[in-house]
Amino acid sequence: QAGEVTVFAAASMKTALDEVAKSWEEKTGDSAHISYAGSGALARQIAAGAPADIYISANPGWMETVARTGRVQAQEDLLANRLVLIAHDPQASQVTIGPDLDLEALLKGGKLAMSLVNSVPAGQYGKAALAHYGLWDAIAPDVAQADNVRATLAMVALGAAPYGITYATDAVAEPRVHVVATFPDDSHPPIRYPAARLTDTEAAQSFYEALTSPAAAKIFEAQGFHTLK
């Protein structure tokens, strides 16, 4: 009899995780139901007793919330990501991230698209990076914060904002944006995607293992993630 697994995963992982799940389903004959939403919403639901078998967060902070419920059977950091500066204009020249970067000149009065800098991980990392170079205070008033990375990406893709800060994984898949710089890893806390197994069913264990299989790693890396094994 086929097993079932319910996965709660950060929305930004959808493309890659769908593929991983598909190949897992094909291999095992089991089926995976993946609920994509914000990491925080999912964490709260798990805390409230949601029937999730696996949780993958885009934010170590929410993983702690889940851990406190005592439901976590196994946990590890699954993936890492990098932060990039993207531009709408295909002709935009490459820049170097550093204390001398004149973002305001780049923006020419436009907005810098980011995710919510106090609550969405991509925004938090971006703010930390800009602050690291002492750029944040000057640029803060010109930052347009979207509620998730995809919305940030959409702003740049549509040209509503000339520049934006997103994950490398998001920039890879969107042809209408161009990466003009990658933030040095030491400019912000490490970007980690922790995964946790919340139940002991066979399917859950099998899926949890599949996440770290070489096949999965290939899929994740094709999307621009770094695998941590």
Partner: protein
């Protein structure tokens, strides 16, 4: 049709089910509350009125969060319901509850306006003919407010079809169980280049809601024509 995946069809079917139940189940209390607000003077009237409007005022995420707190399996109401075998959290029933709660103020507003437009003199006339209050309501008030009830129900249905924030916060986004059309659209938007897929779902969602809207308009028109003596 090959341009919709099986999962998409699931979302369509689920949305129809969720919006249908949300509308159907909130209609009787909607009518009751609207009637009470329109016609009765009771202590706490303002409080009831405020409560009804709350889902309109609150960001949907907050409403969803409050539902989650209340109706989660380990929440106060959810626990009690679980004992009678009714699980709302993370099921389509919960999605219907969220949609119903979000649509409730719209429904009540429409029905209440309709009730306030009914001439109490007609209800008095029915009473002198021997009809009790309940009977007057069923045979005079209700038929006269039918267009308003229809308007309220269809507004609620449309709202339920489009409800996103409270639903994803309360019942999560589980394909086949709680992934309604708006949630499916959201999921698609998370995929780079998913806009085309999302657009298809948007078209379906709009078609379903507008279809219902047109049918209801036509119905309301017929009712009005009958009352105006043209039918």
């Amino acid at each position: 049709m090959n341009w919709l995946s099986g999962q998409d069809w699931q979302a369509v079917a689920l949305s129809l089910k969720v919006a249908g139940w949300a509308t159907a189940l909130s209609l009787p209390p909607g009518i009751f509350v609207a009637y009470a607000l329109a016609r009765w003077r009771f202590a706490g009237r303002s409080i009831v009125n405020g409560l009804v409007h709350l889902p309109l005022i609150l960001p949907p995420v907050v409403t969803g969060y409050l539902l989650l707190i209340g109706f989660a399996p380990n929440g106060p109401i959810g626990g009690a319901l679980a004992k009678i075998g009714l699980t709302l959290a993370f099921t389509w029933k919960g999605a219907a509850l969220a949609a119903g709660v979000m649509a409730f103020p719209l429904m009540v507003r429409a029905i209440r306006l309709a009730i306030e437009a009914v001439d109490p003199k007609l209800e008095e006339a029915a009473a002198t003919l021997g009809a009790s209050r309940a009977w007057v309501f069923a045979t005079v008030t209700l038929p006269l407010i039918a267009p308003g009830v229809l308007a309220g129900a269809i507004t609620a249905y449309a709202k339920a079809m489009g409800e996103f924030g409270a639903t994803i916060t309360f019942v999560s986004n589980i394909p086949g169980q709680t992934q309604t059309l708006p949630l499916a659209i959201y999921s698609q938007l998370q995929v780079p280049g998913g806009e085309a897929d999302a657009a298809r779902l948007v078209v379906i969602s709009v078609t379903l809601a507008l279809g219902a809207l047109l049918v209801s308009e036509w119905l309301a028109r017929r009712i009005a024509a009958r009352i105006a003596g043209r039918g």
